[in-house]
C-alpha cells in the first residue's frame, strides 16, 4: 500500500514538474554593421511542460565582436525593438523612437511554435554609439531577410534544466 502511494506520488510529481527543454540554434556568415564578414548566431529556448502551456524566448542574435540583439514576442510578432541612443534606422541620422521596430521574424508569430528548419529575419537598424558604448555592432541592415538554418536540441528533464548552449561566436 505504501509502495503504491509512493509510486503514485512520484508519478503525480513527474506530471506537475516534468518537461521537455528545447534549444534552437543556427549560424550564418555575413557582414556586420561595420562591413566585416562575421559569424552570427541565432538562438532561443523553449520549455514544454507535461501540464501547462509552452514558454519560449526571447531569441538572441549574437554577432562575433558585437553586442547581443533581442527579438522578443510582441503580441503576434517577434520583433527587435530599437532603443534611442543605441539604434538608428539605416540611412538616417536620428536615433529611433523608443520601441521602434528595428527588425522582425518573417512569417512567424510565436516563438513557441517555430520548429527546426529555415528561419528568416530582417534587420533595418544600425548601431548608434556614444561615449559609453563598447564593441557596439550587429548584423548589417539590409532590405532582404537573413535566413538561418535552425537546429533543434531536445532534452527531457524532471524539474527543468538551464539551457546548455554553444558559446557565442568568439571575437577573433
Amino acid at each position: 500500500m505504501i509502495a503504491c502511494r509512493a509510486t503514485l506520488s512520484v508519478a503525480l510529481a513527474a506530471l506537475l514538474a516534468g518537461c521537455a527543454n528545447y534549444v534552437y540554434e543556427g549560424e550564418i556568415q555575413a557582414p556586420d554593421s561595420n562591413g566585416v564578414e562575421r559569424e552570427t548566431q541565432l538562438y532561443w529556448t523553449k520549455t514544454v511542460p507535461l501540464i501547462g502551456r509552452n514558454k519560449a524566448g526571447p531569441a538572441i542574435l549574437r554577432t562575433a565582436c558585437g553586442t547581443p540583439v533581442t527579438y522578443a514576442q510582441q503580441s503576434e510578432r517577434i520583433v527587435f525593438r530599437g532603443d534611442p541612443g543605441k539604434d538608428r534606422l539605416a540611412g538616417q541620422a536620428d536615433n529611433v523612437a523608443p520601441g521602434q521596430e528595428c527588425g522582425r521574424f518573417v512569417g512567424r508569430s510565436r516563438l513557441a511554435d517555430i520548429p527546426a528548419g529555415p528561419v528568416r529575419l530582417t534587420i533595418h537598424c544600425v548601431p548608434a554609439t556614444g561615449e559609453f558604448s563598447i564593441g557596439r555592432a550587429y548584423l548589417k541592415a539590409r532590405q532582404e531577410p537573413y535566413e538561418f538554418d535552425v537546429h533543434e536540441d531536445k532534452h527531457w528533464s524532471f524539474l527543468g534544466r538551464t539551457p546548455a548552449l554553444p558559446p557565442p561566436p568568439a571575437c577573433q
Binding site: 511542460p49 524566448g57 553586442t67 547581443p68 533581442t70 514576442q73 559609453f132 524539474l159 577573433q172
Partner: protein, 267 residues
C-alpha cells in the same frame, strides 16, 4: 564627481529573499560567471559587487526566532519555523516600509554613491525583493538635486537597471511612490530598465502554484507618453527552462539574461 566611461564598469547586485546570513550569499559570483560566459571576447572591463542586507533582516527577525525556539516542540519544527520566518519576514519587512526597510535602502543608496564617487559607471542587477529596494533607491536618486542631469550620463549614479523575477507588478508592492517612475526631464539621454521574468515564476505572478502569466507587460506598464519621462523600459518574458520556484532562482544561470546584461553594460 563625474562618471568616467573609460573606467571599469561596476555591476552592483542586489539579492532578494534569502535564507541564512550575508556570508551565505554568492550572487556576485553567479553574475560574474554569467557575464564572463557571454562576453565572447568583447573588450569590456568590469567588476561585480553584491549589496548584502540579509543580516539587517535577520537582526530585525531575531526576537521572533527566539520565541519560536522556545515554543517549538521539536528541533525539526524549530528549523522549519525559523526558515519560514526568515523568508516571509524579509517580505514583511519590505511591505511594512518601516525602519528596517529604510536602513536597507539607505545602505544601498550609500553603496551606489560610493561607486559614483569612484567615477565608475554603475549598473544595478536586482533579484526578487531586491528589485523593490533598487527601484525605490534609483527613483529617489533621480529626484535628488545634483544627480541625473538627463543630458549628461556622467551625472548618473546608475546607468541602467536589470530586474530578475521581480514582484513589482503585484498590487501589494505597487503603492505610494512606486506607482510611477521618476521623470528625468527634458533631454536626449535615456535610462534603461530590463525586466526579466519567467511565466511560471510564482514570485512574479503572486500565484503560489506557479499559474502561468499570459500577458507580456509588467515593467512596461510604467511607460507613459510623456517625452520627459526618459526611461526605456523593456519586459523580457524569459524561458528559464525551469518551472515554479526553480524558475525564480534560474535567472542567475540563464544565457539570455547573460546576453541582456552584456548588452546593457556595454552601453
Amino acid at each position: 564627481m563625474p562618471v568616467d566611461p573609460a573606467k571599469p564598469r561596476k555591476v552592483l547586485v542586489v539579492h532578494g529573499v534569502e535564507l541564512g546570513t550575508n556570508a551565505d550569499l554568492d550572487q556576485d559570483t553567479l553574475v560574474n560567471d554569467l557575464i564572463k560566459a557571454r562576453l565572447a571576447g568583447l573588450p569590456l572591463q568590469y567588476e561585480v559587487d553584491l549589496y548584502r542586507y540579509e543580516n539587517i533582516n535577520d537582526t530585525a527577525q531575531a526576537n521572533f526566532k527566539v520565541l519560536v525556539d522556545l515554543v517549538a516542540a521539536t528541533p525539526l519544527n524549530a528549523i522549519l519555523a525559523n526558515t519560514t520566518i526568515d523568508m516571509v519576514g524579509d517580505v514583511v519587512i519590505a511591505l511594512e516600509d518601516g525602519s528596517t526597510a529604510a536602513v536597507i535602502r539607505d545602505g544601498l543608496r550609500q553603496r551606489i554613491i560610493d561607486v559614483f564617487e569612484s567615477e565608475q559607471p554603475c549598473y544595478v542587477v536586482a533579484h526578487s525583493l531586491g528589485s523593490i529596494y533598487a527601484f525605490d533607491v534609483i527613483n529617489a536618486l533621480m529626484e535628488t538635486q545634483g544627480y541625473f542631469d538627463r543630458d549628461s550620463r556622467k551625472t548618473w549614479p546608475v546607468q541602467g537597471l536589470v530586474t530578475l523575477g521581480s514582484p513589482i507588478g503585484l498590487a501589494m508592492f505597487k503603492v505610494g511612490s512606486r506607482q510611477r517612475v521618476a521623470a528625468l526631464g527634458a533631454g536626449n539621454k535615456w535610462f534603461r530598465w530590463l525586466n526579466y521574468w519567467d511565466r511560471t515564476d510564482p514570485v512574479v505572478s503572486g500565484e503560489i502554484f506557479g499559474t502561468q502569466l499570459s500577458g507580456l507587460r509588467i515593467a512596461e506598464k510604467y511607460v507613459t507618453d510623456d517625452p520627459n519621462q526618459g526611461w526605456v523600459i523593456r519586459d523580457r518574458p524569459t524561458d528559464t527552462g525551469r518551472v515554479w520556484l526553480m524558475a525564480h532562482v534560474a535567472y542567475w544561470h540563464n544565457p539570455m539574461v547573460g546576453d541582456g546584461l552584456v548588452d546593457l553594460i556595454t552601453n
